[in-house]
């Protein structure tokens, strides 16, 4: 019998100097009321009661605020089962929804002093550090695709996008990088 579990194939993307496809990760969408989210955070060792549009990080885990009842949980690819186990244990009788979306989306890192300007080719948000500080995250749009954008450093962004939009998003960012050369 063939075992293909080592054979992951990420989507094909457009190459660009400022853009790096990130390795596979464990991703869950956790949806629940605030009190349950707080309990879930305790089980995972990081706060899920963060302010609006902010991420929290602890060791190799991160949680991103996507909506008042919705968090995106990120971890190393190997941690998916452990995350689900811990949450199931902690939340047993508490109403919530936990859905594995590890393969639904991929992540890009966009880094460099021009990172915000490249994103501004398609993202209508103000990415000035004063308006979009380090630690801020949100769902938004990049040109005609929906993305999740998370600022990890002054000149570094983490971008999550649904798998089938990865080629488009990387293509737009590659064009934007080319335009920057002309500024």
């Amino acid at each position: 019998m063939v075992d293909l579990s080592a054979l992951r194939r990420p989507p094909i993307i457009a190459a660009s100097p400022m853009l790096r496809l990130q390795p596979p990760a464990a991703r869950h969408i956790l949806r629940a009321a605030p009190a349950v989210l707080e309990a879930a955070g305790e089980a995972l060792g990081l706060s899920l009661s963060m302010p609006v549009c902010r991420a929290s990080i602890a060791a190799t885990r991160a949680a991103l605020w996507l909506g008042p009842d919705e968090r995106l949980l990120l971890g190393e690819a190997s941690s998916a089962i452990e995350t689900a186990r811990r949450l199931q244990q902690a939340l047993q009788q508490q109403p919530h929804s936990l859905v594995d979306v590890s393969h639904r989306q991929v992540a890009f890192a966009i880094t460099g002093p021009q990172a915000a300007t490249v994103l501004a080719a398609g993202c209508p948000l103000d990415l000035d550090p004063g308006a979009f500080p380090v630690g801020m995250c949100t769902r938004t749009v990049l040109a005609k695709a929906e993305i999740v954008l998370w600022r990890r450093a002054d000149d570094g962004f983490h971008l999550e996008v649904w798998r089938s939009f990865a080629a488009y998003v990387s293509g737009v960012l590659a064009e934007a990088a080319r335009d920057l050369a002309d500024t």
Partner: protein, 93 residues
């Protein structure tokens, strides 16, 4: 492109939102008890306000929440935005 203040996330560009029709039209708890004319009104009749209009938006490409807004249809300016379940702000319209 409008700038819309999501009651959860703050001011965001219109590209992140979806318009969702007139606000404060509650679905009857027991639709079967609603008469034919009232039901037809609920389905099809909408205000066409010149001035401040209560309408729904969804921050689709943001927090995902539906919310209500008072917008002046003559100027496109928002008088207020507020969460589902909250009454329109006092004195707004």
């Amino acid at each position: 492109m409008l700038l819309i203040s999501c009651p959860y996330c703050g001011a965001r560009p219109e590209l992140e939102f979806t318009h969702a029709g007139q606000a404060h039209l509650a679905r009857a708890r027991e639709p079967a008890a609603v008469g034919a004319q009232d039901w037809a009104d609920f389905l099809y009749m909408r205000d066409n306000t010149r001035g401040v209009h209560a309408e729904r938006w969804r921050h689709t490409h943001g927090c995902g929440r539906f919310f209500n807004a008072l917008r002046d249809t003559t100027s496109d300016h928002f008088v207020a935005t507020y969460r589902v379940g909250e009454p329109p702000p006092q004195g707004a319209a």
